[in-house]
Symmetry: C2
Subunit: 450 residues, 2 copies
């Protein structure tokens, strides 16, 4: 394609074309590569840059692939032939921290960590904490409705989003939602854009809820002989009316890998669980967590200061990086009703055996959200095929157990062919109708999600 | 209109036509009456009844006005000429209580109280508690995204909705959402239907989140000399990182009326605040609430058993019924950022004076959600005009303070002409586009919200 002569005046921001577009801007952390080469990369620094890029793409017949930090795990930001990559990570201003009203207004390119640091100066925090919080952008978190470790008490990203500013396919900027705790004026378009994976418009800024930093946090970790015991113990904690701020599980294989990377040593076990309680009831809740775990194992540890907490959490945090040392990994993301966790983990083990694949599973036990990580050794050319067949069976298992193919990472490219199986043909038809209403010509992220 | 000959076989459920349709089925608690007479009333008992009614309405050229218990406050269920009233209150089965996974599946006509009672047998509760919880239906609560007293900690109705089954304009039944704690497969149509006020489809059943019944609840009430003190005290409670389960405020006039009706006697004061704390930190949080209130007033009372709590809450609950004794009331529902509550209440008092109207204000201080109740004496023919002018100024005040025209009751008919002022022309255009995508011919609740 030849960029029309109008380019220099009609696009603003930093503009790169053709071979000047760096490789890393064409994909995300999923490892997925789109076919062909994107035509243009625009690094926007203002909302006006975004609007002009969208208008240019329409005129030039290009599709628009929005990207933030490129930390997506489903291929939602992969860009190929005929596309304009619109990088909004330069929209990185924190516009307001409203201390008394507990909200912030931020541009889409602000990282969760940067917002959290600014909020902390007002005694507040931004609750959502995807594993990528240090580097991923709020805009990307909203586009995927990202989860994280604290969801079991504080909800997913969408639960903290009050309102959005979005550039639509016709180049107009619209504002959704509100700055108040409650509000029901009109259809909830804020939630519609949240999790839309770049298919409805370009999120340029957001009003997000902040919350007080908890007065106290206690961390409890336990090693179990069997994953069934761990699942039963986490269910017992929840049945005891405790609302942990975090309730994470690693299976035996993930634990071994994580301990190895973290240099943590520690027990070998059939499963590892780490929980946090916080707030005014943190100690009372932690006592129940500890005594509940103690019914199933003698290996329980409690940390009340940040250093001890970090040590116990380090194992959980090391799980994915440890597995990534062994080659490419397929990071799956099913969620099942919590009562089916043990069954899901057991079934995943069988699937691994059946497909001669190495699968390690960890995840957010409190939400029933599991990440089976399928290792694809680079020296084995047939491994990817076996891994994909295993992933297919994992998705089928999730649906069979009453769950979903994606708890927090999104559909992107990787789970697209499974979406209809989860939603059904009528459900998918309605989704497409809503999409067409906002983006009739399929300008935004075609081939993603749908 | 003549009902087509096909009616007896094509509609199912109880069917009434013309003058056989009772008056109370034509409106809701807003007092709004639509012009003209509805043509048909269908009392559906099954999903199939709903589908057949929708298909019949399409064939007969009627619009569909869905109703549950008729407790709406914005005229969303008022039905006039050319309409088919579809009463779904007969869809009243609790289909499932999933104890370990903490969710329920209910038909749309189940009342919040009935669900809560069923959940209680499993040690769980349904958190949303609109004032109408004893009589309003879950379907209606979802259609309006209803609020209530516990929102400040537990969120609005939508925060408890995991998935929906909806009959669309073409008669098809679609399922949205999931039964797991998290899930991001596709656009969030569950949130789109929640709060759509009957304009997108007929909600026939819902999967809703349940939560453990708190281990302990403490109630704290206080009388303040001035509403500014009360607003400052509630803000100080939240700034102290307390997350009360309830934080309610009555102005002087509401308090007098409520005390009179409740026969509670009690102090006269410039404002009354009642708070609840719950969960494992309830006592620690209650102590902070009590000591914070005590910085502003010596009149603080604490109740820890249900009887004492009910006594303190009775005043709050009596506020609206007390005012309804004086004639018709316009029940307004603005929300402002919490830091602007005192300013809003002060401004409402000025508006009342300016329009020679009696306005009593109470509401959910923790959410910044205020209900200015404008009394319209029946013996004064000009009073309604003055009341409506006052309401207009109240809406303008809410927007001026960075708030919304409706925190929890919805737009319905009553606030329709204010919607564009809040959303802007582009915002409203997008809303209409989404509506058309799901209901291209405007079958559902035309003239409501938009």
């Amino acid at each position: 394609m030849t960029i029309p002569a109008a380019r220099p005046t009609s696009i603003a921001g930093t503009v790169l074309t053709g071979s000047a577009i760096p490789e890393h801007a064409k994909s995300d952390r999923s490892g997925h590569r789109a076919a062909g080469q994107p035509e243009v990369l625009v690094r926007a620094a203002t909302v006006d840059d975004v609007r002009r890029a969208v208008e240019f793409a329409t005129t030039a017949g290009l599709s628009v692939v929005v990207r933030g930090a490129g930390t997506g795990l489903a291929g939602g930001a992969s860009a190929g032939a005929g596309s304009l990559i619109l990088d909004v990570s330069g929209l990185d201003r924190i516009l307001r921290i409203a201390e008394a009203d507990e909200f912030a207004v931020v541009e889409a390119g602000v990282s969760g960590a940067a917002l959290d640091a600014a909020a902390a100066r007002a005694g507040l925090r931004y609750a959502p904490d995807p594993a990528s919080v240090a580097i991923s952008t709020i805009g990307g978190n909203i586009a995927t409705n990202a989860g994280g470790l604290r969801c079991v008490k504080y909800g997913v990203t969408g639960d903290s989003v009050l309102g959005l500013s979005v550039v639509l396919a016709d180049g107009r900027l619209v504002h959704t939602g509100r700055r108040t705790a409650k509000g029901v004026a009109g259809l909830d378009l804020t939630s519609l854009f949240t999790g839309s994976e770049g298919t409805l418009g370009v999120i340029v800024s957001a009003t997000v809820r902040l919350q007080p930093i908890p007065v106290r946090t206690v961390t409890i970790a336990a090693y179990f002989d069997e994953v069934e015991q761990a699942a039963t113990a986490t269910a017992a904690v929840l049945a005891a009316r405790v609302r942990p701020a975090m309730l994470e599980l690693l299976d035996a294989a993930s634990l071994r890998e994580a301990q190895d990377l973290a240099g943590a040593g520690g027990d070998s076990a059939g499963a590892f669980v780490v929980a946090q309680t916080d707030g005014f009831g943190a100690d009372a809740e932690a006592e129940i967590v500890e005594s509940t775990f103690a019914r199933f194992t003698s290996r329980v540890r409690v940390g009340t200061d940040p250093a001890a907490a970090n040590e116990l959490l380090a194992i959980r945090r090391a799980a994915l990086p440890a597995l990534e040392r062994h080659g490419r990994v397929l990071i799956e993301d099913i969620a099942v009703p919590r009562s089916r966790i043990a069954e899901a983990v057991r079934r995943i083990t069988e699937i691994a055996t059946g497909h001669d694949s190495r699968i390690c599973t960890f995840g957010h036990a409190g939400d029933g959200n599991l990440h089976p990580i399928i290792v694809v050794p680079e020296h084995d050319p047939a491994a990817l095929g076996r891994a994909e067949a295993a992933a297919d069976e994992i998705f089928a298992t999730a649906l069979h157990l009453g769950g979903t193919i994606t708890g927090e990472h999104g559909v992107g490219v990787l789970k697209r062919r499974w979406l209809e199986r989860e939603l059904g043909p009528d459900g998918l038809r309605v989704q497409r109708a809503v999409r067409r209403a906002l983006d009739p010509d399929g300008l935004f992220n075609p081939g993603k999600m749908f």
